[in-house]
Symmetry: D2
Subunit: 250 residues, 4 copies
């Protein structure tokens, strides 16, 4: 079992995503039917920058549900089961994850935490243990199969696999769910691995749909202050408490 690296690829984005979000916003306040303006949105007769400006302004006013109409689908590899267990807690999303019940893990790769990688003693201990895992998994699978538990041998042998074991998944989220995911997971309080994944996803989103994602990231990026309790603040931005105190607020 060798160490692996994070890999995030964009498989799909809703086509004409900016125009779709613009059209959805417009339908809320417009007397006509947006299907009638749709061709002019898509062909650029209504300029993309005009669409982007409108979307940014409505978003700033706090009306964000129309960004749900556009979705991104990512293929992700090189993450641990510790990471995937955190990801799937985000309920407004769709996941298809590699199954440890059905896929043989005899040669499964693993994620090496950077803090361990840079301490030689820790890295050596970690890698020696990962070799042990491989032996234990294969031994148990062999024993179970020899005792007749053919198809289900993997299902039980997997109990020795570590949180570090690599998993792969296909993830779809709409833009509103993505903005929320980045709010939580790009924050310095998030665990390093899920933060690295979030940052890789955010980079892809920014490239595809800058009107929505330019100011995305940890909550502080769009708020201009840190909403966390002061004892958790990382210091990049002033806390809400500091702001309110400075302004004679609350």
């Amino acid at each position: 079992m060798p160490a692996t690296q994070l890999s995030v690829e964009l498989l799909a984005v809703t086509p004409n995503a900016l125009s779709l979000i613009y059209a959805a916003f417009r339908q809320c306040y417009h007397a006509g039917f947006v299907a009638d303006m749709w061709p002019r949105l898509v062909n650029g007769e209504v300029e993309r920058e005009v669409q982007a400006d409108f979307v940014r302004k409505v978003l700033e006013s706090g009306h964000d549900s129309p960004v749900e109409h556009a979705s991104f689908t990512f293929a992700v590899a090189g993450i641990s089961r510790a990471c995937s267990h955190q990801i799937v807690r985000h309920r407004i999303a769709s996941y298809s994850q590699q199954s440890q019940r059905y896929v043989d893990a005899s040669n499964m790769d693993y994620v090496l935490p950077p803090a361990i990688a840079k301490i030689p003693e820790a890295r050596e201990r970690f890698e020696a243990f990962m070799a042990e895992v491989g032996h234990a998994y294969r031994d148990l699978k062999d024993i179970l199969e020899a005792h007749g538990r053919k198809e289900k041998a993997k299902e039980d042998a997997r109990f020795v696999l570590p949180q570090a074991a690599e998993t792969r998944m296909v993830i779809s989220m709409n833009c509103r769910a993505l903005l929320h995911f980045f709010n939580l997971r790009c924050c310095m309080r998030a665990q390093w691995e899920v933060r690295a994944l979030a940052q890789a996803m955010l980079a892809l989103c920014k490239a595809e749909l800058p009107a929505i994602f330019t100011t995305a990231g940890a909550k502080c990026e769009s708020l201009g202050y840190c909403p966390e309790a002061p004892r958790f603040a990382c210091g990049r931005y002033p806390t809400r408490e500091a702001l309110l105190a400075g302004s004679g607020g609350k």
Copy 2:
């Protein structure tokens, strides 16, 4: 206020939807990373019919979550508020609906139920009443504005608007939510208007993604029997009770 007609237009579908669903299914059972096979799925090196067959087989086995990765966005007009109130009860979806708080309804169109349309006496009564609605709305809006309730006049005048009043919305649903929506709303037990909408959406889905939607529709279409209580059955298919009785089941 004239009578209006249902209009459903497809604004967006996830690109390479079949391959995306195929890739998501494969990732669950496959030792590799689907991003590596993705180019061959999209360029047709793995034939579309092979992908479609695989998807159909896994769907039949009851594993349907990967179809969530593909979504459809529709623009809908010519539906009543009676219809939209039913639609938005489907929670796994995104909606952007024309606001009666912000859009002037002085000349709003209305939906004329077919059963009323075909009885001249009923139609006449209905249309006379709709003319009354228009007067009442404009009168109230004028009075409220004259008394200083400028921007909010529409918000209160709207209380006289009928369930028949036309509304427009942008609707996004993923394929799993769509299959469920069709299960419920293409059934003869559904109200005529939401059933007409569901059938129009289904026709668009079948044309775009036949591998997923060919057998879609009311539950009976895929089950081969009617799962409703016998007193609600429309008779097109035998009921579950009849099947079980015929087979000496339960």
Copy 3:
């Protein structure tokens, strides 16, 4: 059809809601099993004030998912269909709403908007129109029944019912969804009717579970500033822009 009044009654609250939330928070960080401490939470051996303090502190740190474990169920009457259509857009909730397809509306009550009630001319116009609605509904129902559309007569006659028509519903929301609902719907930007409903629900929540709901309400109540765009601010709190400017922020 006479005018009706808002009525909100609390049918159920999760028992031992504070302890349940406390236990859920504790389970996240505690090496033991909370079922073992549960009897001491419920019988007050761990004092309620200690539990409340702990819950408040963790909530302030931004970790709010454990409040989902407690739910409230309300019975609501005296609201319009205009209001119910807004409510059911909140997807993290359960609704059972009186059906206009099945319930005869010949004598249905209606909601009279306060701004209309206080202008005699407007009120008279509104009430005269509501009497018209009753006639139209009954006429159409009679005609449809006379033409053989027995059970479905209500389903089609309902198209003349106004947005003002009273509806009743049973609503369940967990505490996290309630906090979000109050954030949006207690704000001065919300429509008057849904705001009145939200305030009535909040009063019941505060009485039952003050540790969670004391600072609940519009977003400004807990933030100490108004997060809306300045042009929408009602003025009760300084805006975020004002705070950031005052502190030399962003």
Copy 4:
């Protein structure tokens, strides 16, 4: 690290759950306001058996959303991370799970799969490996702490913890989500551990609310046939294909 046993305790159920579901069903079809009948439901003036019969009949007709108003909260221990990762994929639920980032796992218990427990050779191999895990975890935690990664040492050392590592969680689900959870997870196709958990939860639900849960379980229990593809059928019930063939259906 010793082997542990599944433990499921019921912390809370919505009070008057049957009456609440009955009231919610009634509100859909009833001209009045269910808050007015509520006292008679709760005090038994409307007999519980009458309420239960009504609920059962409406459920059989396919209208099941009102059962969402009642929820159950369980405290669960003695399950593996392999199990919890499956559980949290159920999105209509609330979870508070013991964190491996914050809780020291130096003495963590583990789940021993029954198929391994009953093969002495496998059990010995498994237990020897679990002892290895403990050493590796403590060694890595020590090294990381010695290198200054104080608070975060657990966060990285956890990467060696096995899928077998015990976790504890508080789980809330409403009755509709529970019925769906049992449909999938009481089935013989489910993994043994999550099936054991589902069966323990179902036993508690049946005792508390038999009107809803008597026929709950794998889909076959309520359908009277197996809806799985024939190659996955366990044989307890005839398959749908067999039924349709036997009845000359589709």
